[in-house]
Each structure stands twice: as structure tokens, then as C-alpha cells.
Amino acid sequence: MSRPARPPRVLVVGPIAGGTLDTARSTARGAEALGADTRLLDFGAFGAGWDVITKLDVSPDHKTRLKADYAKVLGEAIVATAASWRPDLVLALAQAPMNASVSSRLRAAGMRTALWFVENHRVLTYWKAVAKDYDAFFAIQDEPFLAMVREAGAGKAVYLPTACDPVRHAPVTLSDDDRARFGADVSFAGAPYRNRQRLLLGLIDMAPRIWGDGWQATELARLAAGGGARFTLDEMVKIFNATAVNLNIHSANHVEGLDPDGDYVNPRTFELAACGAFQLVDARAPLGALFAPGELVTFTSMAQLREQIPYFLARPAERAAIAARARQRAIGEHTFAHRVRRIFDETLPASVWEAGRTTAAPAADLDRAIDALARTATKMSPDEAMMRVLRHVRDGVL
């Protein structure tokens, strides 16, 4: 088969707000790393407007109509961009403002559409209504959910776990100030779901530092770090790096403790691994296929967790070895570039994308990685500075 004449053209559409915003940006970087001509519709700036509407003192019906009209504007922006640029694929992330009208108009114009649903289908149920709008539906939960998606009308349904972004999730050099501000023996970073609150209460004697918005209103308020404020992505990476034992607890509002039906792996697992940070993660069935033995330490009960924490606090070398193996796995197999490759394999025709295109690992191109960071980050991070040093070394411009 001859090589495609041009790179695939991909339009990535993100949500207005929420954690999936960063996921959309990382997805775009992953596409660029594969050589795709990529554009990202980053609607993050519209999140403030959405908040204003949400807080308006109007009737619920009015509010619903206002939100729908607001989303319609963004939908038109998607259609207009696609009409002008003619992407081969419009890849939406969960909660992107793409309704049925938008996707049908895109498909009518000959563009492929895909949705990467990076949510728990039991919590966000709108997937039922939108599945049919997409040629391909990618989900972080495997069967039987995929069968349900196909039943709901999606062209195809594919299991695709979340990932890490090596450009943003990486070991970092910490200053003395960073260590003082973010350092801890034990930390947890995330939202105060009920099951997490219960579990962390069971560790209160170990005084873990707890990061995230909302903890100050819980029984764990005195352990809330940073005044209970939101943390940025950069701060999260520093928290991971500055903590000896990171607790990774999958969220669940329907149970008090560990979720026995855990059929997906959260992004945090890959992010911690990519940062080279040691984690204790609640056991989830899909982990066995994603990480090999010795790369992650899981727990299935509070009792087990209470034993693991002091054990690993006392063994820094063992922690470092496990974290290093996890990082190697994450960078080698679980980056956004790996995931986007799968999306391309499943959605793009051979005329624009050779399926199974091989490199041992889709190593992110240095120039594109730097450009992506320069576009998305107003300030140059140490990682970006190091990448720029490497570019000078590579080019012999010393």
C-alpha cells in the first residue's frame, strides 16, 4: 500500500469546562505527535459565560433555553470551522458542545465523527442520546457497555482507556519552596466524592495532605491543603512529585468505600505513573491488562491500605523502583499519542492513514511538542525549557 500523500486532518473539539478540557488539549498534542494536521477548538474561554448563565436568577426553563442557545453558538463554530477547513475527522471529547444537528451536518458534508467518552457511563448518561451521532464511539469502559453503545446506534464502539501526556505529566525538579509547599509523606489530590471522604477519614491518624476544591466543607477540612482551593495542572504535577506516597482512589458516589464494580481506570493512574510518582491505587479489573506486575501497587481494603502506607514510607528505594517501572510503561504504551493512533486506526481510511503504522512507540516529535506547549501554556515550564535545550543539542546550535 502506498503511503498517504498528506497527513490526516483532525479537528479536536473540547468541552466548555471541567477536567476534560485538559484531556482535549492533550488529545490534540497526541494527534500532532503522530504527524496529523491538527486543530483544537478550545472552548475553555466560554466556561465563564456558561457559569454566568448558570447563576442567573431566572426560571429553570429559561435557563435551559439560554444554555441551549449558548451551546448552539458553539456548535455553529464547530460547523463553520469544519466547513472551512475540511478535516478528515472531527474528534469530540466528552461534553463537547456537539449536538445531533451539528454531527449530522458534519457527516452530511462527508466528515467522519468520533466521540471519546472519557466518563463513567453510569454517572453521565447522555451517551445514550448521542451515540448514534457518531461514526465511532470510544469509551473508557469495555463490554458490556460497548454493546450498549452499539445498541444505541453508534457506528462502532471501541474500548479506549484514558492516558498520560508526557509533555505535561513528567517528573519535575522541585525548588525548596515547592517542597515546603507541596511536600508530604502521604497525599491525595482530587474531588471530595463520598467514597473518598469515607476512606480518607479512615486514614486521619496518618494525616494525609488532601488537595482539591470542596474538602474544606467536609469532616476532613483540617487536612485540606492549600486552603481547599483548586489546584492547577502544574501544581498537581508538583504535588505528585513532592509526595512520597500518593493515594489514588477512584471516585464513586454510590458506595461508601471502594467501588466493587470498578470497570475503568481513571486518568490519575496514568498521570501519576508518567510523573514517576509512587502511588497506591484501589484495585480495578482493567489494571491487569494495562500494567504488568511490579509496576503498580493496588489495595482492595482499608486494612490493606493502612499496612501499605507505612511499609512503603519506610522503603524509598522500593518506591522509586516501582514508580520507575510504572513510568516506563505509561510513556511506552499509555500516552495520548497511543490512544489517538487507535482512534485513527479505527476511523480513518487508508488513503489518509495507514493502519498499524509502526514505530516501536510513537515518540512525540520534539518540535511539535515544543510548539504545542508554546501555544497552550502562557509561561514556559522547566519541561519546555529542557525540550528547547534538547532541540539546540539536536540541531547543533550551541
Binding site: I331, A364, L366, M380, M386, V389, L390
Partner: protein, 562 residues
Amino acid sequence: MRKILVVQLCRIGDILMTGPLLRGLRRAHPSAEVSLMVMDSFAATPLPSHLYDRLLVFPLGGLAGALADRQRGWEPSRDALRSFFDDAGGPFDLVVNLTHTDMSALVTSLVPARRRVGLVMRADRRLGLDSAWMTYLRASMRSRPVSAFHLVDLFAWTAGVARDASGLEITVTADDEAWAASFMRTHGLTGRPFIALQLGASSDAKRWPVERFAALADALDPSLGEIVIIGGPAERALADRCVAATARRVINGAGASTLGGLAALLRHSRLLVTNDTGPMHVAAAVGTRVLDVSSGPVSPHETGPYGAGHVVVEPVLACSPCPLDAECHHFACRATLSPDEAAAVARFAMGEGPEPVLAQSRLLVAQRIAPSGRIAFLPAREAWTADDYVRYASARVWETGLDAPASVDGGWATTVTPPAPSAEVMASLARIEAVLHNVARDAAQAAALVKDLPRTAPAKVPQVAARVHATLERLLAIGESERAVHPIVMFLRHEIDSVAATDMAGVSRGQAAAYAGASKRAEQLAEALHVVDLGRWTEDRGPSPTSSPDAPTPSSLHRRTA
């Protein structure tokens, strides 16, 4: 304990030229831990270990090799780089970046530090200088015919340390001495004088032709000494050509020694005739007289052999020295010094002959100048050119304006009175003086406009800003056409670019100060050149170590009042 890091990511010569700065740091901060960062390829430079406490070796070779393996990707190299910075031993109280490259700016930004001086890459991806002297260096890069300061002095002042009477230093071990003794024994040089030749250079543009070196060897009377060719292994082929082209015995020592061995050998040499090279600095470091044949993109005033009495021959050509990035196809500068002239200069440098008159070149002699102890390469007896006057006067203006510290244990440096200029030079200086007065006036007007911006009616701000911008453009254009002005306006531009304030008042203050500074420097330089023009010197007679009784007497440079 105070921790200081000096970043020097250039070549052997630059590392050796960093020695006086390190010595100054030891003097100024006796209890500080001083670290030096160098490239791995030059980590073996025998800089004396008493000058620093820790050597950080930047792993350029390892990174380049890893990046060449495309299968591995760049992430492992980034991890290796991260480990390097983690192990650097920071945070440092002060990091001084002497390297003027974008890569060194990035490296400097990555070293944990409380204060950084020299080129730094800021978080907004803009280059910052954070050092008046490094700003000057950057500003003067394209006005090199009038560059006023040697890098050794600039390096020291960047770190805020004064110059002392000593020059460069290099380690010579007992093994090095033993090697040199063996080499001299083998070649019958023990107890006999010899002259060393360094044929190679880092680029062809800097290299005096090998055939001329060969003719020089033949032109030097054997009674003056044997001829020994030195150099690295890559220069053996050049050395072989030279040996084949000479009629007399020439000893080929290229590739025979380490740097330390070379230093030990050069100690015994009467003279080193060389291009602008690392061995040139090695010879200066061991106190051997140097004859530097300067050509190509080299300004001896910036990088010449450091120490009083060394001799430089520079071409008299409109294009010399050429810019660092120039593409030249004629290399006329390499042909300006004939072998016979070079032989005459060599005899002069060894005290065996009079100062020769050169047809297309100039002979300069190094002197250490008060009050800062900086080095200057000045014509011994020849008339000064307009560039010489501009360079000398500029040095005084910048030394004063940027507070160059007075030399340590002053008294060993000389003061120099520029000789009365010729009518032609006076006319040039008068023209330059007029241009400087215009620059001073325009810059002062811009300073006043900018200073008043916070009080300007909002509707008029764009108009005023446009006028100021037009003034800057005009000043930059003047700087392009008049090189005496160039460092002043480029310094102004770098200062304006470095204003970090984002509020109107802060920007106004920063830019007004920059324009006012430019105006003052232009006025001071004009005044200094006017003194020359009118020949109004006050003369304080005194001894000058390098001048004969007939040479101009030392004096301070200031205007005699009417």
C-alpha cells in the same frame, strides 16, 4: 554558605579567560562555594582547581548521541537532563552566565538560583540579560571594529569583581613538565631557544595561510631559535604541509601533547606565533610572549592574548573584522601580512628588532589600562585611527557609566594619552561628534516624552508613543550607519526590551531611564572625542612600562578648562 555558579559553555580559550573572574570571586567571596559549568568536550581544560570548588560537566555529547537514536524518542534525554539539574547542587545564590547563546540562556534558567546574571531565558520565552556588562557585550556585537573591552575584563565585571594584575592561569603538572622535557630532549631543544607556531584555527577565515607560516619560518634567522609547530591531532596534516614547504629544520609537534603538556612546552618558548586560538591563551597563561596574527571574524580587542606586552597584527581593511556570521569568499584579511613583515614583527616582539612599518596591517601592543586595569591593544608608535580614538573614548564612557570597579592594588596599570590626531582623523572625529550630539538630543527628547506619558491625556498617548517609536527607529538607523553610535543605541534597545513593568508608570520610568542613559552616553562620548579633536590634554607625566622615552606620556583624559 554562599553558592555561586559560573556557566561557561564555550571553548578552551573562553574557559581559560574565565580564570580571572573566578580568582576575583575567591577574593570577593572567600567563604563561598564556587562552581563552574563547562561542556563535556572541554571539561579536560586544565584550569587550576584552586579557582573553583565544583566542576559541573554539561553532558552535551551524551545528549546528542541519545537524540540521534530516533527510535528512543526525546523523553529519555529529557530525563537525563533533569537528573543533571537535580544533581547540580542548587539552589545557587548567584548564577553568572558568561556564554552568549540561547542554549546557555535556557540552561541558566533551569539551574535553581536566587539570582541570575547574564543571558537568561525568561518564563515569557523572551531573553533577559540582567547584567549591564552583558547587555553591553550584546549591544556591541555588530560594532566590533570599535569594540572596547576584552572578554576577560567583561567577564569579571559581569560578576562584579575587580581586575587584578594577574592574567590567565593554567595547571601544569609534574607529568606535563616531564613530557615537555622529554620532547625537548628528543628534538635537541634542551637549553636552546625556540619559537612555536600554531598553524590551525577553529575556522579557515581565522587561519593565516600555512605557506606564509612556512615562509615566516624560513625568514627567521636560526640564531633566534628553532621552529616548533604545535597544535592538536587534527592539525598534523597542516603541520606536515608546513614542514614540507620550509627549507630549514622545523620540528613537528602537532598532536604530540595534551593541553597541559603544551602549556609546559610553551613555557620554554621565546614566542608563539599564532592565529586566534586556544593555544594562544595557553601561551598567555604561562607567560610566553604571543604574536597574534588576527584575521577573519576576530577582534583582538575582545579576545586577543591577555597580558601586557603581547603583540597583535590586525588587517587594515574596511571589512575587518567581519561579523561573526559573515560569509566571505575572498579572505583578503589573510593576505595582508607578508611573511617578511611577520618575521619583522616577531623580532620586535622578542626584543630583537625595531618596530616595523607594515604595508596593509597594523601592529598593536597590549597594555593594562588604569583605573580598571582592563587590557587594551594600542598602536605602539603608529598614528591612531578614528576607530582607535572611538574605542578608547568609548571605553572610558562605559567604564564610568557601568561602574567598572577600580583595579585591585591599583598602581600597576598605566594611563594612556591618545596622541594628537591627524587632520583627516580630526575631521572624522568631528563628524562622529556631531552625530553623537544629535543622538544625545533625540534621546533626551524621547526621555522627556516617555517620562510624561502617565500624565498625557489618553487620547494623545498613541500619538506620543508613535513619536517615541519613530525616534527609536531613527536612532537605530543612525547606529547602523555610524558604528561609534551603534553600541549606545543597541544598549538602549536592549534596555527598553528588558523593561519588565506592565503598568504605564513602570514602563514610563524604565524607558525614560533608558533614553536618558543613551543621551548621557552619547553626550559623554562626544565630549571625549572633542577633547581629542582640540588636542586639549592635561598631562601628568609618569612612567609607562611598555613605552619608550619617546612614546606619549601617560595622562588622564579630561578637558582643560579655558
